[in-house]
């Protein structure tokens, strides 16, 4: 395998794994008090996939841990033991998940995943043994269908107990575009070895990349013998990564064994059919009804029904595909191009003065399609917040256990969508705020009870759309922010700029977003070191968002994060300097105004300033800042735009305002070195280019 192949496989692997781990955590945290059979199956499936994929990538330590958890859940699934210590079970699984996460992080950094998972695996095995020990009280032969509504687990057990060897033939189709089908086929065979013998497959030499097209076209065919029954083998194969279609056929069963019903005879009938048409790989359920009827074996049809039900269940995830973000970016570019060329065609100067009734009608139709297309393309970049939100369950759970607090996290509006790029930047801020709320805000259960609050605290995580923005609200019912303490701390850190009495509670509360600010006297594992809340603001700044806090002492604190829907489009004010257009993100603009000569003054070192409504501001001339020639130099003739960036305000001199418009943001060509004060460029609706001003550039001189 070349490095390149491995590189892209690694990327796929990491993507797949993180997704699975997220799913795993969500499943566990949802159901911590007790697992139902679906959740056990889900965890089993996830672990099985993790094991298979990491074995394929030769990360044996990950595979080892996954294997022991898989064993554990296999037992749970098969035996359904009562009186489980679910808390301990969850701890073990989450421990495993953490281990996998750690190793993934190493792989992502290009290091070797060298963590030792054997202790973890041993602990899990020990736990399994202990369950098995207590589970002995439960009668081995569970009454069929007890507590297991969908899966015919109990029935299966009686089969597997015997020595009957079944022969199977499976044909597997991988999802289109999953790549490296031959390696996946190899992994499949490798995984089969645990439960099957006499494995033969077609194409034979799967290591050879030449077989990829064959597998894509005809599927991967594998024949094997196994003592496991149809359902078990089917579900085993179903866990294959990137599976699109699975046809599993039972060829024959040899040996008598302890099967309560004579399975061998009826199943032989379908084989006769199959052998008459060797090329036609028929599914169990596709067999002529007569054959099954002749077999007078209700179990066969039950099993096939079961299989078909599961097949339908497995087909559902294929409605989603994962696409490289670069491709979406390219699509967005092409979209912009299409809009421009549409205008060039329909407003072509050669059409002027012509009577074009039908042409105009058709172009209106075209324009409508194009604008629909544009919306669809934009919506493709949008991802729901649910994955980010549900990840917080885990954080809340872990903190509650360590801090002995009792918190319920309620999630509302997780289906709200934001741009993919933005999601990456808001996960951390949300996490920090939730940690802060639980650590600082929420009181211990006893204290809560004594204050007449319910012992179980409530943290609300809510997302909602508000115009072109998304609001993320994190609300707790804890003790609120102690403004006195905050102000005192702000004063000792030299952050205050006016007398104490002039500060409103709201202003004081905003101090907590400044770097190095923590009022918690004790440093805990989660907060108190003074980093955290400023991460919130700095991360939000990257995506052009803002954070607000509102707190009522004794009743709780509400954090509101305002983030734009998308980074690809900003709301900008176009301004003119020496004939060239510049775009200023509207979020930074307070107002624009014309200067009066009597309000202007210059300090001895030549800094220009202006008084506006009693306050004094620095003036930055955009043409001077960028050394542009031919601009308006008289401050009173041009227009001043008052810009804010956090606490700082400045007045920017430009020639003129053009107007407000939405701009598609592009980065500067790679060849250009970074220019302070510019963050990128944008294509205007008419195809012109405008440079986007980075307001922060005016402040950090």
């Amino acid at each position: 395998m070349s490095d390149f192949d491995r590189e892209s496989m690694l990327e796929m692997f990491i993507f797949e794994m993180s997704h699975l781990i997220d799913q795993l955590e969500a499943t566990i945290v949802q159901s911590e008090s007790e697992y139902n059979i679906d959740q056990i199956n889900e965890i089993f499936r996830i672990m099985h996939t993790i094991k298979g994929s990491s074995a394929m990538m030769m990360f044996d330590n990950i595979a080892g841990v996954a294997h022991s958890i898989e064993d554990l859940f296999y037992y749970l699934r098969e035996e359904n033991p009562q009186d489980l210590d679910y808390k301990r079970l969850s701890d073990h699984v989450l421990g495993g998940a953490d281990f996998v996460k750690e190793e993934l992080a190493k792989i992502q950094d290009g290091q070797k995943p060298d963590g030792d998972g054997t202790d973890l695996a041993k602990a899990i095995d020990k736990f399994l043994q202990s369950i098995k020990g207590t589970g002995a009280e439960i009668p081995e032969a569970l009454p069929p269908a007890a507590d297991v509504p969908v899966q015919s687990v109990a029935k299966k057990q009686s089969y597997t107990a015997g020595d009957t060897v079944y022969k199977y033939r499976a044909r597997i189709y991988f999802q289109d575009g999953c790549e490296m089908e031959n390696i996946r086929a190899y992994t499949l065979v490798h995984n089969l070895q645990e439960l099957a013998t006499e494995i033969s497959h077609e194409p034979q030499d799967v290591i050879d990349e030449e077989t990829i097209p064959v597998i894509r076209k005809n599927g991967f065919m594998v024949e094997f013998a196994s003592s496991q029954d149809y359902n078990y083998v089917y579900s085993h194969l179903l866990a294959t990564v990137y599976l699109r279609e699975l046809n599993l056929e039972e060829l024959s069963a040899v040996g008598a064994g302890a099967s309560p019903v004579p399975v061998a005879i009826p199943v032989a009938t379908p084989v006769a059919v199959a052998e008459n048409v060797p090329e036609a790989l028929v599914l169990h359920e596709d067999l002529p009804a007569a054959a099954i009827a002749a077999a007078s074996q209700p179990d066969t049809s039950a099993a096939s029904q079961d299989a078909s039900q599961r097949k339908a269940g497995a087909a559902a995830p294929t409605h989603m595909i994962s696409v490289n973000v670069n491709k979406l970016d390219a699509l967005l570019n092409l979209m912009g191009e299409l809009v421009i060329s549409e205008a060039m065609v329909t407003q072509n100067s050669e059409l002027e003065g012509l009577q074009l009734e039908s042409f105009n009608k058709e172009t209106r139709h075209l324009r409508k399609i194009i604008s629909n297309l544009q919306q669809t393309v934009m919506s493709m970049r949008m991802v729901p917040l649910s994955a980010t939100f549900f990840r917080m369950h885990r954080i809340v759970r872990d903190m509650c256990r360590q801090l002995d607090k009792d918190v319920q996290l309620d999630i509302v509006g997780e289906e709200t969508e934001v741009d993919k790029n933005i999601i990456e930047h808001i996960a951390d801020p949300i996490m920090h705020i939730i940690r802060n709320s639980i650590d600082h805000g929420v009181e211990l259960p006893a204290e809560r009870s004594s204050r007449g609050k319910p012992a179980k605290a409530r943290v609300l995580l809510e997302a909602k759309n508000a115009g072109g923005d998304v609001l993320i609200i994190i609300k707790d019912d804890g003790r609120g922010i102690n403004t006195e303490k905050v102000l005192k701390k702000a004063k000792t850190n030299g952050l205050t700029t006016k007398p104490d009495a002039e500060y409103t509670d709201r202003e004081i509360q905003q101090f907590i977003f400044l770097p190095g600010f923590s009022t918690n006297d004790q440093v805990t594992a989660y907060s108190g070191r003074g980093v955290g809340m400023d991460v919130v603001t700095s991360n939000l700044e990257i995506v052009g968002g803002t954070a607000l806090v509102d707190s009522t002492p004794g009743e709780g604190t509400t954090f509101t994060l305002k983030i734009p829907l998308t980074l690809a489009i900003i709301e900008g004010m176009s301004v003119l300097v020496a004939g060239a257009q510049y775009t200023i993100p509207i979020v930074h603009i307070i107002k624009s105004f014309k200067a009066q000569p009597e309000n202007l003054f210059t300090d001895p070192s030549g800094n220009e300033m202006i008084t506006e409504r009693g306050e004094i501001f620095n003036i930055v001339r955009l043409h001077e800042f960028f050394n542009i020639e031919g601009a308006v130099t008289d401050v009173c003739e041009g227009t001043l735009i008052m810009l804010e960036n956090g606490e700082h305000v400045v007045c920017l001199l430009v020639d003129d305002l053009i107007g407000q418009q939405q701009a598609v943001v592009k980065s500067m060509p790679k060849y250009f070195k970074k220019v302070r004060g510019l963050s990128g460029c944008t294509l205007l609706g008419n195809g012109d280019i405008s440079l986007i001003i980075d307001v922060a550039g005016f402040f950090d001189k």
Binding site: E337, F626, I628, P669, K670, V675, C681, I689, S690
Partner: protein, 156 residues
Amino acid sequence: MAMVQNLFDEERHDDTIKDQYLTFAIEDEDYGVEIAYVKEIVKMQAITKVPEMPNFIEGIINLRGDLIGVLDVRKRFGKPSKEHDEETCIIVIIYSDYTLGMIVDAVQETAIIPEDRIAPPPSAKLSFANQFIRNIGKVGDDVKLLLDVERFLAQD
């Protein structure tokens, strides 16, 4: 934004483009750039100036939705700039991961210059522009100055 030509996009193979050069004129001299670097040729269009750039960087153009940087070859060679006219063209090149436009007086032709018709420049001639010329090629009796793209693009 009309595209004049989309050169060899599909046949960017070593065999077919070996020894091929796109030749262009600056002042009275003819220059050549290896066709492997050339993406396309577009006619002159509106350029958006970018502040704080070296003088030979003209700005950014919108190439069908892609924003690419544009250099003025004349200014890069230290020659006086010239009014743009009908013949002025932008040669779009791809070098490592940059896509860039080069403003030239006129694009001439694609010429095949076999290796035995190429010689290094005489070391005695040390004009400013010389540092950007790797070799000198001959087509018939004409001399083409072959560009050293790496040095041409270096921003010190």
